[in-house]
Each structure stands twice: as C-alpha cells, then as structure tokens.
C-alpha cells in the first residue's frame, strides 16, 4: 500500500516541487490551513494581459509528501488556463493526476492546494467558490 502511495511520480514532485516559491505583487493570493495537521499553503497567481489567463502560479508552505506533490502537480496543470475554467475544475481531474488511493484524511492533504487556489481566484476575480471550499475562505478572513 505504501509503495502505491509513494510511487515514483509522487516522490519526484515531492522532492522537486514545480512552481515552489512566492510571486511578489501577485494578482491573486490566498493562504489555507489544514486544521488536521497544521499544514499551511500559500498560493500566488499572476494573470496574463487578458486578465484571465494564468500566466504564472507558485506555492509556498510546508506539508506532507501528498500535499506537496499534489500542489506541485496542480501548478503544472493550471498554468496557461483561464481563471473561470480553473474555478470549475473538478477535483477528480487533480486526483486522477495524483493517481494514488487516498483515505479520507489524506484526501484533505491532496486537495488543500486546489481549495486555496480556488479561494485566491474567487477573491481576485469573483469566480464562484463551491460550498466545500467556503470554509477555507472564512478561515482566513477571521
């Protein structure tokens, strides 16, 4: 089971995360917290001139291999796509890419980055925020 979980591609993204860093003066930004383990993730987005296309996206924070790898994969997945498209990105698309069996508790690790990205887009562009992510938004506003 562990061998499935920590398969090569996960370890690769974990050890060499794509898009790890900070964008100064980002057009969109949000920070999220996984209350189960205290992990934090920050996501920064910069839009292209059309104001819609994600030109650059980065993440910072610390977390387990699953959360770091899935957020790294997410960065590759969303670059060059439009904000409203990503706002409606089904979580299955990311989970398929992650491609490992996850227990409910680890699912939260894998989806933290996606939730935080949706919150960032919601704040910057007013894109809809599905109910399941609303808690992340409130969490930070407190």
């Amino acid at each position: 089971m562990t061998d499935d979980l920590y398969r090569e591609v996960i370890l690769d993204h974990y050890k060499n995360p794509r898009g790890h860093g900070v964008i100064d003066d980002a057009d969109a930004h949000a920070e999220g917290l996984n209350p189960l383990c205290g992990d934090e993730v920050n996501i920064y987005v910069q839009f292209a001139e059309d104001g819609e296309t994600i030109d650059d996206v980065k993440f910072s924070g610390r977390g387990c291999a699953i959360s770091q790898a899935s957020t790294s994969m997410l960065m590759e997945m969303v670059k060059g796509r439009k904000a409203n498209e990503i706002a409606e990105l089904p979580k299955e698309e990311l989970l398929d890419e992650v491609g490992i069996p996850l227990t409910p508790i680890r699912l939260k690790c894998a989806l933290l980055g996606l939730g935080v990205l949706k919150v960032a887009l919601h704040r910057a562009k007013g894109t809809p925020l599905p109910e399941e992510w609303a808690g992340l938004d409130e969490l930070e506003l407190k």
Binding site: T2, C37, D39
Partner: protein, 406 residues
C-alpha cells in the same frame, strides 16, 4: 507486571493490519480494552441495566448499585475523601469545561489572572482562554525550558503582584510525557489564594494519583485512556468548592425541587449530573480502574519509563532523528520525535504499512508545537500491554521511512 501476559487480555491484538500483527503505539490518544472490561459492560447490560436512581424496582436498584459502585471505585483510585466529590462526566474535556464555566464564570473578573502552561492539551487551554476573555480576566502561559519542563522559577515574575485565581496544568504532558510538579504548583497558587486545576487525562492511567497528596482543588480524568470505554470521564472537586458552585448542565436528576417560580439544586454529586448518564460506560470505567489497579500503577509507570528509555536511545541513534522532552526518569511512556525533512504524516503513513500505529500531528498542543518550532511531531506512546518487539518494529519502520522519503 508481565506485559506479555496482560497483552493476552486484549482481543484487538489478534487483528492483523495490512497482513501484519498490530504494533499499537498510540495509547496516549486512547488505550485498547481488555476482555475484563468488555465483559463487565456486557454483563451489566445483560443482567442489571435500567436507568439509575429513583426507580423503585429491583433492576433499577441493581443498576444504581453498579453505577454508584463505580463511583466508589473511582474515589479510591484518586484517594478522594468522599464519593460525593466524584462527578461522572462525558470526558476529561467536559470535566474541565464544567470547572471553567461553573466555577470560572462566577469567580473570575477584570484584574484576575488565569495561568495555564505551555504544555497544555487544548482541552485545558481553550476553555480557560475563552472563560478569561468572557470574564475580562487576564490569561497567561507558564513557559517550558528546552527539555519540555515547566520553568517554575519564572512563576513569580510571570504574575508580578497580580491576583492569581487559577492555575491549570496537566499532570503528564500528552505530547512530551513530562511529569509536572503539581504539588509545588498547588502550594504556590494556594499561597496566593487561587485554585489548582489538574488535567490528569494522561496522568491517571500511568501514574498513581492522590488528590490529597497533590493538594489540588479539581482533577479531571477519563476512562478511554485507562483501558475503559469512551464516552465517560470524571471530575473530582473539593467538596466546599463544588457546594458553592452553580450547576453546569441543567435538567433531570440534578434538581431538589422544581416549581414554576424557581428550581433548587440537588445534593452533590447529582447537582452536576443532569440527564441520563453514561451508565454502562461508568460501570466499565470502574472495571477498567480495577484492571489497571490490579496491574499496579507503580509497576506500570516503571515499565513504561523503561520502554521510553529504550525507545529514546534507539531513536537518537538514527541519523536525522530529533527527540523532544525530558530525560526518561522524568517522563511517562511517551516519545515525540521528528525525522529531518520528512513530514510526520508521511512517517506515520509508512509505519502504518508495517502495522505500526503511531500518532502524527500537533497532538492538540499547538502552543507547544510553536514553542518547539515545529508544525507537528510523531509520537509513540506505550502502556501496560506494550512489548519491546513493538519498539523494534518502530525503529525498523523509521529506517524504511528514510529509505523511501529521505
């Protein structure tokens, strides 16, 4: 104490996890249950169950005898002067909330100080932080040193000439295993006219508790960490304080007389036991106390301390592993550690694949994690059924973690 013999009393160890025998190193979160406790609960339901008190029929009398018998067992266990000072609750958390609300709301106000320690579980931190805020009292935290031990020398400076009304501490830290000097704290707070509240959820299962020797005013503990069922805890409180306090939960059982104009409260301990209590769970709690007492608290503590010493030594031998907390002679059977560069969730996940159950996270101690400069730790914890092979498997597992993720 023969851990191997005791272990045979616990049916859970017949379970296989991922095809491997279970190495259960998470007793600090909750303990496993011996057949003797499970049988006591089943037998009570099968032969003696009814609602307690007030029933005039035989079965209700039998149930009441079981429930009150458990209360007397708990009284002896913590050496309380009287069983009327022993209150059944849902959990140690509820016990602390009872004190924070029922005592705190009426006794705290602006200018008063509430002191907790940096080692507290959120259960003995958040209620005091909240009640202090509600009453306008000041909330302060007694720091620890780098060994995870309370800095008692800082106490006087921490409070200055402020009016200390309550000091709340755990007896044993659930994160680091530190055994706290409750007697000294009691003496200190009493000298200043305040009260001492002890969270013994982690202490009572592993360490002899004597409320009279500790000289505390309230002591909270629970069943589930002590080989008993979940859903029941207890609070011991000094009789004269409990008498003066308003009730916490209101409803049936806790009244003397109810009139439209006014209701008067029942006697201790019933004033604090509104509604139908966890009756069979209380009986199971009593059976668990009997089980643990038969093994002997001193023997349990000594055995766990030996296990902790071995685990600490072997973890420290592994490169890149940091252990936290005091030396083994001053700690309970709890070992917190981190593997450099590897998140505790990943450590715990890999260990799980080997059938080794440990806890990974902040252990409901975020202020302590902040002090240690970490987000989370791994924690292995031991009990009277832990065998040395489980520590061998922990160590092998940590090596595997490093092979995969290092």
């Amino acid at each position: 104490m023969d851990a191997r013999k005791l272990r045979a009393d616990f049916p859970i160890f017949e379970e296989k996890i991922h095809g491997k025998p279970l190495a259960y190193l998470d007793s600090a979160a909750s303990s496993q249950k011996p057949r003797q406790v499970l049988d006591a609960i089943r037998e009570f339901y099968e032969t003696s169950y009814a609602n307690v008190h007030r029933g005039v029929y035989t079965l209700s009398e039998r149930a009441t005898a079981g429930y009150e018998g458990a209360r007397e067992t708990l009284r002896r266990f913590v050496n309380a002067p009287s069983a009327r000072e022993v209150i059944f609750t849902r959990s140690a958390t509820e016990s602390i909330n009872l004190v924070a609300y029922a005592w705190g709301l009426d006794n705290l106000g602006p200018g008063d100080l509430v002191v907790v320690t940096e080692l507290e579980h959120h259960s003995n931190f958040v209620p005091w932080q909240y009640i202090a805020k509600r009453t306008g009292a000041e909330f302060r935290m007694l720091p620890i040193d780098d060994n995870g031990e309370l800095q008692l020398d800082d106490l006087d400076e921490l409070v200055g000439d402020g009016r200390v009304k309550v000091v709340a501490t755990n007896l044993v830290s659930n994160s680091l295993g530190t055994i706290n000097p409750v007697q000294k704290l009691s003496a200190w707070v009493h000298e200043r006219g305040g009260i001492m509240v002890v969270d013994a959820a982690q202490g009572a299962p592993h360490h002899r508790v004597d409320v009279q020797a500790l000289e505390c005013d309230f002591l909270a503990f629970s069943s589930h960490k002590l080989c008993g069922p979940s859903g029941v805890g207890a609070l011991w409180g000094r009789g004269e304080l409990l008498e003066e306090m308003s009730p916490f939960n209101l409803g049936g059982h806790m009244i003397r007389q109810v009139r439209f104009e006014e209701t008067t409260w029942g006697e201790l301990p019933y004033k604090f036991e509104a509604g139908t209590q966890p009756i069979a769970e209380a009986v199971g709690f009593g059976a668990a106390v009997d089980y643990v007492s038969a093994a002997g608290l001193e023997a349990i503590e000594e055995y766990e301390s030996e296990l902790a010493a071995v685990a600490l030594e072997r973890l420290d031998e592994i490169g890149g592993v940091t252990t936290y907390g005091p030396p083994p002679e001053r700690r309970a059977g709890i070992v917190s550690f981190n593997v450099e560069g590897i998140h505790p969730h990943d450590v715990a996940q890999v260990l799980d694949s080997e059938g080794v159950a440990i806890r990974a996270g902040h252990h409901c101690c975020q202020p302590l994690m902040t002090r240690l400069g970490v987000v989370a730790t791994n924690r292995a914890s031991f009990y009277l059924y832990t065998v040395p092979e489980e520590i061998d498997r922990l160590i092998e597992g940590v090596h595997k973690v490093k092979r995969i993720l290092g």
